[in-house]
């Protein structure tokens, strides 16, 4: 019998029951909750007179609607100016109280973007099944977990039964071998992968990210890659457990301790694909061929290296594809063949569950140090992913670097990743953003998003247009900073 993939093992470990119709009941270990996709699920429980099956599997936090401005944030939930947002956050408070669910409230030390706080507290661990009413739940797969987004009906289903009804996905391996060049990050890797396989390339698959580049990548980098598995169409992305995983998890507040730790490490040592495991599809990339990426269009697959040009639809034969590119160029206000480095920016956003962890902020600060944002750039928002990230960054003095550069240092929230709070792009504005989606209107009505790494975003903030962060870094070291 052929060996098992990591996904096969995680599936097998959580299989409660296979049914004759090809579906299965899969047990869920951790269920993360935020204010946007949970109210209707709690309401459903109430209407049916049901209670959560296992309360201790639930962890809630508000992130999407909470303001990022310190002044508006200071008064807590009551201070949220937008009434509809305030009601939603209040509803989460009430539901957590009524159903006795652990919540990291708006200004509490544990609060943050749900996908940042899970790994950082040890609430999500290797070998778990993790779900959340949020497609970027794939992030937690970086720990060697089976993690994916679900809809609100399933949020209710998992609360009521601790299980999901699932069909097994197919296995895809994305191998990134070789080595990344300096200034090339996890974000560039995942954008290059999406550019290669397309936004529907992973539909129906669980993707395992492997190869030398992934093995050498930090946990936070792996989270960035897994976060965007959904942007390639795959509900779940994952990375095998290794020493880097264990070093990261050890001593996290909710991680196992003492004898439990030893038992856990033993169990987790199985969490990798067997040598003879068979994948339905294998995709290969070379690390040294990846340059810093910039998205030019309205889908994450519309992405190129910083030295490239915006494509010319006239060269595309497929009619639907050509129409898609034409529409994207029109929406983005770009010309066919235009150089990426000629795109000027109005705003810059560094944050989101993709790139708001401490390493991301360090990378941005390294570029911003001693520099000033370009006058033509109206605003540069730096939004840490959690209270813990914010505290760590302040301890390291990163916030000062940003403030000195003319950037704004904000409170943990999703912020301009999807613009549900007050942070938005104006119509027609171009934004260098470290988030994960460049869909039309995503960051504000008529807004134009370009997805990049934190270093690239900081470099763009300083230059006022896209520049190759690698050249910037050279200039800096020559200048002796």
């Amino acid at each position: 019998m052929a060996g098992q993939t990591l996904y096969d093992k995680l599936w097998q470990d959580h299989l409660v029951k296979s049914r004759e119709d090809g579906t299965a009941l899969i047990y869920i270990d951790r269920h993360l909750i935020h204010e946007v996709t949970s109210p209707q699920a709690f309401e459903g429980l109430r209407l049916a007179g049901r209670k959560p099956w296992r309360k201790d599997s639930l962890v809630a936090t508000p992130d999407h609607n909470v303001p990022s401005e310190a002044a508006e944030r200071a008064a807590g939930v009551a201070g949220i100016r937008d009434e509809v947002s305030r009601i939603q956050v209040q509803t989460l408070d009430e539901n957590c109280r009524d159903f006795d669910v652990v919540q990291f409230g708006i200004n509490e030390p544990g609060q943050g973007i749900v996908h940042v706080i899970g790994p950082e507290t040890g609430a999500t661990l290797p070998g778990m099944t993790v779900v959340c009413g949020d497609s970027h739940t794939s992030t937690h797969g970086a720990l060697g977990a089976l993690a994916h987004g679900i809809g609100t009906s399933e949020v209710e289903h998992v609360m009521a039964t601790q299980c999901l009804i699932q069909k097994k996905m197919k296995n895809m391996l994305v191998r990134v071998d070789g080595e990344l060049g300096p200034g090339v990050t996890a974000k560039d890797v995942v954008l290059a992968i999406i550019g290669k396989i397309g936004t529907a390339g992973g539909t129906g698959y669980a993707i395992e990210f492997g190869g030398e580049v992934m093995r050498n990548m930090s946990m936070e980098g792996r989270m960035t890659v897994c976060n965007m598995a959904i942007e390639a169409g795959a509900r779940a992305g994952m990375v095998a457990v290794d020493q880097i995983t264990l070093d990261y998890v050890k001593d996290k507040p909710y991680a196992p301790k003492g004898a439990d730790w030893d038992r856990a490490v033993e169990a987790w040592s199985q969490l990798h694909s067997d040598d003879d495991a068979v994948f339905d599809v294998v995709v290969e990339l070379r690390g040294e061929e990846i340059e810093p990426q910039v998205s030019w269009g309205t889908s994450p697959e519309m992405v190129v290296g910083v030295s490239a040009q915006v494509p010319d639809p006239a060269t595309i034969n497929d009619a639907t594809k050509r129409a898609g590119i034409e529409r994207a160029l029109e929406y983005m206000g770009l010309n066919a063949g235009q150089k990426i480095t000629d795109i000027k920016l109005d705003r810059v956003f560094i944050g989101s569950c993709t790139n708001s962890r401490i390493e991301d902020l360090r990378a941005a600060a390294a570029v911003a140090k001693g520099q000033k944002k370009a006058d033509s750039v109206k605003q540069v928002l730096i939004v840490p992913g959690s209270q813990a990230v914010k505290a760590q960054a302040e301890k390291e003095g990163l916030h000062k670097v940003f403030i000195d550069a003319g950037f704004e240092w904000r409170e943990p929230s999703c912020s301009m990743c999807l613009a549900m709070n007050a942070d938005k792009l104006g119509a027609g504005e171009h934004c260098a953003s470290t988030s994960n989606r460049n869909f039309e209107g995503r960051q504000g009505y008529g807004g134009r998003t370009h997805l990049v790494s934190p270093g690239m975003a900081a470099a763009a903030a300083i230059a006022g247009r896209f520049v190759d962060v690698r050249e910037m870094a050279t200039a800096q070291s020559e200048g002796g900073i």
Partner: protein, 215 residues
């Protein structure tokens, strides 16, 4: 959940690939804590010429005359004809809620994004995957004939054209069963409560650190 057995309805086009969930229902409407009332904001950014706000009376907003769903000939449509990778992006169930609230009962496309596809079934909305060439043909026929209607027979797994020609489609046995009978999956899963408890007890023994850690 609303049952779906057979449905005959007017077909309307959403003629672009990769229609994402932000386009189906923009984020400002996700602030609602209800499941209903999203219909007037379906495809909001394409449908209107201004930026919509939650709670607004949409009947007074300027419509985009170039958007197909605003054409007189597509008023009252209940079958949406779409292109590849429909529903990509977020897990927001507000997307199927909006389509349902608008009056759609079925969506036909060459492919759908996974989470969206799954969410549709939970809301009595039937996503149908057909071959790209067949979808192309349906687009042509729909454009050519005003009032073009399709019948969808879930029991037989067939789409029936106005000329009586039929097209077979695949649907998962479990999902079909739930949809035909309007069954609530939570009730069904709870029939297996003993299996869940047995699994849970074993799991607690093997991996005690997964339990009672966060309190």
């Amino acid at each position: 959940m609303k049952a779906f057995t057979q449905h005959k309805g007017l077909v309307a086009p959403m003629d672009r690939a990769n229609v994402d969930t932000d386009l189906i229902i923009p984020k400002q409407f996700l602030k609602s804590i209800k499941r209903t009332g999203f219909g007037p904001n379906l495809f909001d950014e394409l449908r209107y010429q201004d930026e919509g706000q939650p709670g607004q009376d949409c009947s007074k907003r300027p419509l985009n005359p170039e958007f197909a769903l605003n054409y007189p000939r597509y008023q009252g449509a209940s079958v949406l004809l779409a292109r590849e990778n429909f529903g990509c992006g977020s897990s927001r169930e507000h997307a199927p809620w909006a389509l349902d609230d608008y009056g759609f009962r079925a969506i036909i496309a060459p492919s759908f994004a996974d989470i969206f596809f799954n969410n549709c079934f939970k809301n009595g909305l039937l996503p149908i995957v057909l071959d790209e060439t067949i979808v192309d043909q349906l687009f042509d026929e729909m454009y050519a004939e005003e009032g073009y209607q399709l019948t969808i027979d879930l029991e037989k797994q067939q789409v029936v054209k106005p000329n009586g020609e039929t097209i077979d489609f695949e649907v998962d046995a479990f999902r079909k069963h739930c949809l035909l009978n309007g069954l609530d999956d939570i009730g069904l899963t709870l029939e297996d409560a003993d299996d869940i408890r047995t699994y849970e007890a074993k799991r607690r023994e093997q991996a005690p650190w997964l339990f009672d850690a966060v309190k």
